[in-house]
Subunit: 201 residues, 4 copies
DNA sequence: GATGAATGAGCATTCATTCAT
DNA sequence: CATGAATGAATGCTCATTCAT
């Protein structure tokens, strides 16, 4: 990479990181582009060289952060050596929840955009396609000793439940703190998984 | 009510209705207070006589609309004469879903604010407390032939799942159109309910 | 007029006058709305209370100034007591030219917009309709001892010629200073008038 | 011409043509230099190698396009073999009008700049001086069987009248469509020419 | 209570121009 | 010669809020 390209990358990343920082601390609505560029140490016009507007950079950030989150969970799963689908799903959910418990600004930031539909397109689009968590999900399901029907529906239901309930439990300890709620959540997840086993209905 | 008071109420309601109309068509961010007062036919200053700012009227609208939605479902349940808790819960969820399918702007409007935590405070606060859906839920659970443990957790889980999954299914037909997804959703709801029966775990 | 209305009028007129001053000295493109409001001593938002944007105020100024110019010419004609159409037309043109010779910024300002089509609509639209110069023209033509054919064409041709040639002669003394060019211009105007007399063609 | 020089010329012409295209479609004010270079396929800095700014390229375009317009008229006149000045002038005016009727963007573009003063300097400055239309005018006048006084004034008056009246008639059909207005215009032109014949006044 | 004129801080966006490569 | 990333001044416009009437 030439000197110029390096410089470009550095500026773009400075904007990216600064925007994330400000969005999570001040909120998106209260963050002006002037704030971002000022703190990132670039000129105002430079922002528009790389992003269309505030919502463009926001969307790109959501995709990026979500991908990071699930990639980490996927990698941890690989090292954990768990073979049963139920335990694998719980492991991933648990890993994501634990990460978000430690990083509530991130939870706040991506939660409003983390729904299964967006998730799938988010995780499928992008650079390192060999590490796609959605593909990984399908693979895990494939390899399990049981057969599953309506796989998409199953994943969707689990993600919506875990995302929505997890969000409130982590942020507001409502109806229980997340650690106390986890057993209930995982019990429901297991029930949903089991209900999708072929010949179970 | 005196003539003056009537006039006051009329103005306040005009603002209320106009705000709802504009929020659902233009979006909250793109709706200016000028838009509301202009369309409502009152002066700008009058707005501040009744509401603190745009978000004040928004919150009051969410509470109001959510209450209407669940009150209708509760009333319909009363007339339906269903005695089993499982069927009662499904009936209510189904009634709400069907209403929102017919009224997507309303879905859009309340969805971003309809989470169990908000729901409870929403439904418990307000004018006609004898008709509270949350109290009704507790009552229905009480009357069922089974006993239930961790009732709050159960309601929370169901509302989060139905709210989050229903929202996407209705608006984006994702992963299935709502009518096709309903059987899966209701199966999960039933499993969650059953898992809360005392001595079931 | 109440105190409030007086105030409104004063602000609007301050903007109007300041805009004219700046447009004629700095040019329209180089005049920012900030310049106008600052000099007029009102807040920026106030500008948008009365005008849509810079071009709105410009158009309204052109109409206003053009009307003033022709009204003055018409009034002078009334007092001059000239009965022959040829002399009346020359009188008006001459009066306008002489005014603009003394007020080149005004010439510059309205010239780019002074075409017969605009002129007619300009002069016909507005407040004091009884003094419309276009109507007056038609009246003068009507009263003349000769009959005229294609009156609209005649007026158009004269206005275009006098406007376009006058503009250059006054501003650039090109091909002659206006006083030297006048005899040629008026000779042409007379020829055009005569050529429109019925039965002359 | 060397390969490098050819390349230079190609870039300059690309900028020239693209600028004309954009000026006539989007308007000069709304055309940014970025637009021009982007569409022309050259780098931004390259623009400044050949032109000082937007108004520099605009002026050069006006000169270029006006010259083309009158050269074509002059060439057509040569082939038409008309000997009388009156008819020659009408021929040229008519040729220019007909061209502009077919090419209204061009009319729009040059009209705001086409006044006799500019015309003369335009037509006299430039590359192929032997074909200058202004010189040609003088030559035609010289050769006519009549003698003419105040030749500059005559040409000026005719150009201003035809330019100004033609512009409105073509673009706005005001006060008549150009074809209907032509007889009136040409009658006036003839009268102006005749009035300049020596010993006529 | 009701009005609506006035405010002015605040913000997104554009764009001509420069200059290191 | 050519490039195009970077700049940052400039500016139009919005809008919540106030307050005299």
């Amino acid at each position: 990479m030439g000197k110029v390209d390096e410089n470009k990358k550095r500026k773009k990343e400075a904007l990216f990181n600064t925007a994330y920082e400000l969005f999570t601390t001040k909120g998106i609505n209260s963050t002006a582009i002037s704030d971002i560029v000022e703190r990132a140490g670039v000129a105002k016009g430079t922002f528009y060289l790389y992003f269309k507007d505030k919502y463009d950079i926001k969307n790109k950030l959501v995709v990026h952060k979500t991908r990071e989150l699930f990639d980490a969970a996927g990698n941890a799963l690989n090292e954990a050596g768990i073979s049963c689908l139920e335990e694998q799903m719980i492991f991933i959910i648990n890993h994501v929840i634990d990460t978000l418990v430690e990083n509530k600004p991130l939870l706040n930031f991506i939660s409003k955009n983390l729904v299964m539909g967006a998730l799938r397109s988010t995780l499928l689009t992008g650079e390192n396609n060999d590490n796609d968590i959605y593909e990984k999900f399908l693979e895990l399901i494939e390899k399990d000793k049981y057969d599953y029907a309506d796989v998409n529906v199953m994943l969707f239901t689990i993600v919506e439940l875990a995302g929505s309930a997890g969000y409130n439990s982590i942020l507001y300890s409502e109806p229980l703190p997340i650690e106390a709620y986890k057993p209930f959540l995982y019990r429901s997840v297991r029930l949903i998984i089991k209900s999708h086993r072929s010949g179970t209905e």
